[in-house]
């Protein structure tokens, strides 16, 4: 019973463990891995997007800054042309100036005006294109910044630039580019005057950026020559649609710029910095929907994976439930089997007890028979014998009485023999066979010796041929031989010179032991009765016997797995043959 429980319990435990363990672990791993991957992917995508965005900005900002810078530098670089114009002419009339100025101005967008100012001490009138009223002209040219710039320009011998100034109210920022004009005269150059180019850098930027579509970028140019205070030179806010972008006052100053590109140029001995900032609009160009999408995608995948694992787990649980069911069924079936087995064993034990009891009863019975039945027989025979033994008693009895007493005694003997035969016959089925190799030759000879008494005074020859040995119970086989041989001796009683032949024959691969006599034989019509108990085919007064002998022979050889057969011709003897099963004994 013990072996039934553990393997199945073990299986059940394993399945539960696997299912539960698998699902728990699966969930955890799925969520962790999924979350991790999603986050990583999101971050990676976000970083990539930021990178792209920054690169885009850099590209655009650089492009625009370069355009602007180029434009400004072109102007600065072209001033010498104007200088040459003056330096190469003896005198320049106003018309000539105006013509040149217009041409020059046309070439450089953002130029507000151009002026010619003669050196100090010269009474020549300044030229200005486009024309200005005298008052304004003088006011402008007299400004200290311009004077300072003139002085410096003359000193350095090259164009300089003023700091940015506001003109026409606060709306416009202008710088004045001052270039000295000196005419070479013998060993020295005679300073003639100054060219003043008034430039609105904002317009320059405007013109420069006109060719590209400015979106989301603010551009400012600041004068950073004086490091402590950067001065706004030009301002070009982005052209981005402002409606959908929340605007706060002081956008460019209060907000920390997310992206910024700065270049610094030298503009006529001033240091100008071009700053390009990304506006919120530009920020919006960043495809910030990608990262959340990836995160969402990751979350969905993780969810799906978790669902899948959940379904696997639930399948596992289903399997587990099935296994439990089957296990329960098996256990029930097993329990039933055990019950049946117990019941069967009980029955077997009972039957065995019953058989043992029956056997014991038979033993007691036969013991009783062997003792208690014989004793009275002995008395009967004994006392009748005494009657006949004592001469004086015999003399008193007549011959008929003597004969009758003889009958009594004969019957007693018969009964005694019968009792012995019956006892032997009944004991046979209770006795256990011993299986051993039996020397048939020796056995037959020993039996013949035992029957010496029966052969007394008889003219009888028993010829024994070589007999192969066999396997069986020697004492029982002895009974077989005794019975067959004594029968042969008995039924040849009336033959003057009797022969009994004992041999072994091989018939169809089977060893058959044969006892042949040339005695009285028997009628083959009654052969089926021959081996029955108490069956006799001859009369008792002719051939005494109990009719049990051959029944005994048959029972014995059948217990050995063989059988016996008989053949005869009345008056011509009988042949008895028996065989044993070599292998299969009970």
């Amino acid at each position: 019973m013990g072996t039934r429980n553990s393997p199945r319990d073990g299986d059940e435990r394993d399945v539960s463990a696997i299912a539960a363990h698998g699902s728990r672990r699966g969930w955890v791993i799925a969520c962790v891995v999924g979350a991790g991957l999603s986050v990583w992917a999101t971050l990676a995508v976000d970083a990539a997007e930021s990178n792209r965005h920054s690169q885009l900005f850099a590209l655009w900002a650089n492009e625009r800054a370069q355009l602007v810078t180029a434009q400004l530098e072109t102007i600065a670089a072209d001033v010498p042309t104007f200088q040459s114009f003056y330096e190469n002419s003896e005198t320049v009339t106003n018309d000539e100036f105006v013509r040149f100025a217009r041409d020059w101005t046309r070439r450089h967008p953002g130029i507000v005006r151009v002026a010619w100012m003669a050196a100090e001490g010269s009474a020549a009138t300044p030229f200005v294109e486009p024309a200005m009223d005298v008052e304004s002209r003088d006011a402008m040219l007299a400004r200290p910044e311009i004077s300072a710039a003139c002085a410096r320009a003359r000193e350095l011998g090259r164009p300089t630039c003023t700091t940015p100034m506001r003109e026409n109210g606060p709306s416009r920022v202008v710088v004045h580019l001052v270039a000295p004009v000196a005419v070479a005269q013998e060993e020295s150059a005679r300073h003639q005057g100054f060219i003043v180019v008034s430039l609105c850098p904002t317009d320059t930027i405007e013109a420069a950026l006109d060719r590209s579509i400015p979106v989301g970028l603010d551009m400012t140019v600041t004068d950073v020559s004086d490091s402590s205070t950067p001065l706004l030179v030009a301002e070009r806010p982005s052209n981005a649609p402002q409606s959908d972008v929340p605007r706060s006052a002081g956008r460019t100053t209060t907000r920390a710029p997310s992206l910024r590109h700065e270049t610094t140029i030298e503009f006529a001995d001033r240091l100008w910095r071009t700053t390009v900032d990304a506006t919120p609009y530009f920020d919006r160009l960043r495809r910030s929907w990608i990262a959340p999408s990836v995160l969402a995608g990751g979350a969905i995948l993780t969810g799906l994976l978790a669902l899948h694992l959940g379904s696997v787990a639930s399948r596992g649980r289903l399997v587990e439930r099935l296994v439990r069911q089957r296990t329960a069924q098996l256990e029930r079936a097993n329990a039933e089997l055990d019950e049946h087995r117990a019941l069967l064993e009980q029955r077997v034990a009972e039957r065995t007890r019953q058989l043992a009891d029956a056997n014991h009863e038979l033993e007691a019975f036969s013991y009783s028979v062997s003792h208690d039945l014989r004793a009275p027989l002995r008395a009967i025979d004994g006392f009748s014998g005494l009657l006949l033994a004592k001469t004086e008693t015999v003399e008193k009895l007549d011959s008929e009485a003597v004969r009758r007493l003889g009958v009594i005694r004969r019957n007693v003997r018969q009964m005694g023999q019968l009792i012995d035969d019956l006892l032997a016959f009944s004991k046979l089925s209770r006795v256990e066979l011993t299986h051993r190799e039996v020397d048939m030759n020796g056995l037959v000879r020993s039996c013949i010796d035992s029957l010496a008494h029966d052969r007394e005074g008889r003219n009888l020859e028993i010829r024994v041929h070589d007999l192969p040995s066999c396997h069986g119970d020697e004492s029982l086989l002895r009974e077989v031989w005794l019975n067959l041989l004594s029968n042969a001796i008995k039924y040849t009683r009336l033959v003057p010179f009797a022969h009994v032949d004992v041999r072994a024959e091989n018939v169809d691969g089977r060893t058959e032991y044969v006892v042949r006599d040339d005695g009285v034989g028997f009628d083959m019509r009654y052969v089926h009765k021959l081996f029955g108990v108490f069956q006799r085919l001859h009369r008792a007064e002719d051939y005494p016997g109990t009719g049990v002998g051959l029944a005994l022979v048959r029972r014995i050889v059948r217990r050995h797995g063989g059988d016996v057969s008989a053949n005869s011709e009345p008056g011509n003897g009988a042949t008895f043959r028996f065989w044993l099963d070599e292998v299969n004994h009970d």
Partner: protein, 149 residues
Amino acid sequence: MTEPFDILLVEDNPDDVELTLETLRSNHISNRVEVARDGADAIAMLFDPGGLADRGRSALPRLILLDLKLPKVGGLEVLERLRADARTRTIPVVVLTSSREDPDVAASYRLGANSYIVKPVEFDRFIVTIRELGFYWLIVNEPPDGRRH
């Protein structure tokens, strides 16, 4: 029972007793035979204080014919007693019984019987058996203590 006798017959069946006595007498084996009718009687006869065993070797029988199926005390127990006592240990005991059962034979020999004879049913053979065994044990056989009457 003060005279010495030859054979102690322990037998409960009166007919068997009569036949045996008659046979022993008529075949001139002996007529000095004592009979015990059951096992208890036999033991009392032998071992009771003042019994045969107490009275010395000459008081004891030269042969004991012992039936097995006896009332009160069975033959095997008597045999055991006989062999247990040094005074009676050497007396020849012939188990004379109807039973041919193997257990009885084996037990008898194991307990020290000298011989085991099955009483034949036929009277003629019974006579021969008694005569021969009597002749053998009282005349042919050399007694253990050299006592010959």
